[in-house]
């Protein structure tokens, strides 16, 4: 990381919190491209090497989602799915949603919820409706 930093503190890696069997990522403020790409790798490693079966990405703290960040989010969800975890994107504000749709980026493969609570609720429902044998299939 050698680029100059007009904003102090904006280059810190995004923390990935573990809540039971779910990873919670809360995106805040300005997210540099490099930080977003690092996050994508972090989550894939965490999902692969932990008990996590769900990933919640909260974007209530970001002002915009452009095509780059949108692609990162879609790829995080795709990575997680390939690693047997479900991703829920939550917290998007109406202005961001309107802009993303007009941009042509509607993230069709990504499950959404209005807020973190509902995102966790969705993951719980998914877990309880999955057949017990299916969920335990690999262990």
């Amino acid at each position: 990381m050698t680029f100059p930093t007009p904003f102090p503190g904006s280059l810190a890696a995004v923390p990935v919190l573990v809540l039971g069997d779910t990873l919670l990522v809360s995106l805040q403020g300005e997210l540099h491209d490099g930080v977003a790409e690092q996050l994508q790798q972090d989550i894939a490693h965490r999902v692969a090497h932990s008990e996590a079966t769900g990933v919640v990405i909260d974007v209530s703290g970001v002002d915009i989602v452009d095509s780059f960040l949108g692609r990162v989010i879609a790829e995080i969800a795709a990575n997680a799915r390939l690693l047997a975890a479900r991703t829920v994107l939550c917290g998007m504000g109406p202005a961001v949603a309107i802009t993303l749709a007009e941009l042509g980026l509607t993230l069709p493969g990504v499950v959404t919820a209005l807020d973190v609570d509902r995102a966790f609720e969705l993951l719980r429902q998914d877990a309880s409706t999955a057949a017990p044998g299916e969920a335990a299939g690999c262990t």
Binding site: F3, P4, T5, P6, F7, S10, L11, E30, L31, H32, D33, G34, D63, I64, V65, D66, S67, F68, G70, R71, G93, P94, A95, V96, I98, T99, E102, L103, G104, L105
Partner: protein
């Protein structure tokens, strides 16, 4: 005619790193807010700026962004120009087609940004560089009140 004390004047910003992209977004947001753009318009404008600034960085090898408040009385707006001295765009029509990409992205940068603003022009010469200019006007539609969204 007394120009109202106007804190917003044209600003040129370098684009040479992803930190610069963040700074461009920040400054475009600030100008747009001061000019009275509503939240949705601000978001569209900042998003378009982010797409174009990233193109300047990735495809143009870096360059600069010029942010200029404009008036066409009574309308007020913001003009953003992104210029680079990179390889230029050989086929503008193709480059502004949804899904077309040379950079490994989604191919929505140029085509998407064009949809987000009122005016959009590309001036490019192969081998010499590209200038993409966009203008957005503050609409008369009452904007969402701050805090309501």
């Amino acid at each position: 005619m007394t120009p109202a004390s106007d804190p917003v004047t044209a600003t040129s910003l370098p684009i040479g790193s992803d930190a610069d992209l963040a700074w461009v977004r920040h400054q475009v947001r600030r100008f747009a807010a001061e000019l009275g753009f509503g939240l949705v318009q601000q978001t569209k404008l900042v998003t378009a700026a982010s797409e174009l600034a990233r193109n300047t960085l990735i495809h143009g090898g870096g360059g600069e962004a010029l942010i200029t408040p404009v008036t066409d009385a009574p309308a007020r707006g913001l003009r953003l120009s992104f210029s680079d001295t990179g390889p230029g765009i050989r086929d503008v029509e193709l480059a502004t087609t949804d899904g077309y990409t040379t950079g490994g992205g989604l191919g929505l940068g140029l085509s998407g940004a064009r949809r987000l603003v009122d005016e959009f022009t590309i001036d490019t010469t192969p081998g010499e560089g590209t200038v993409v200019t966009l203008v957005a006007w503050v609409t008369g539609v009452p904007a969402a009140r701050p805090g309501s969204g």
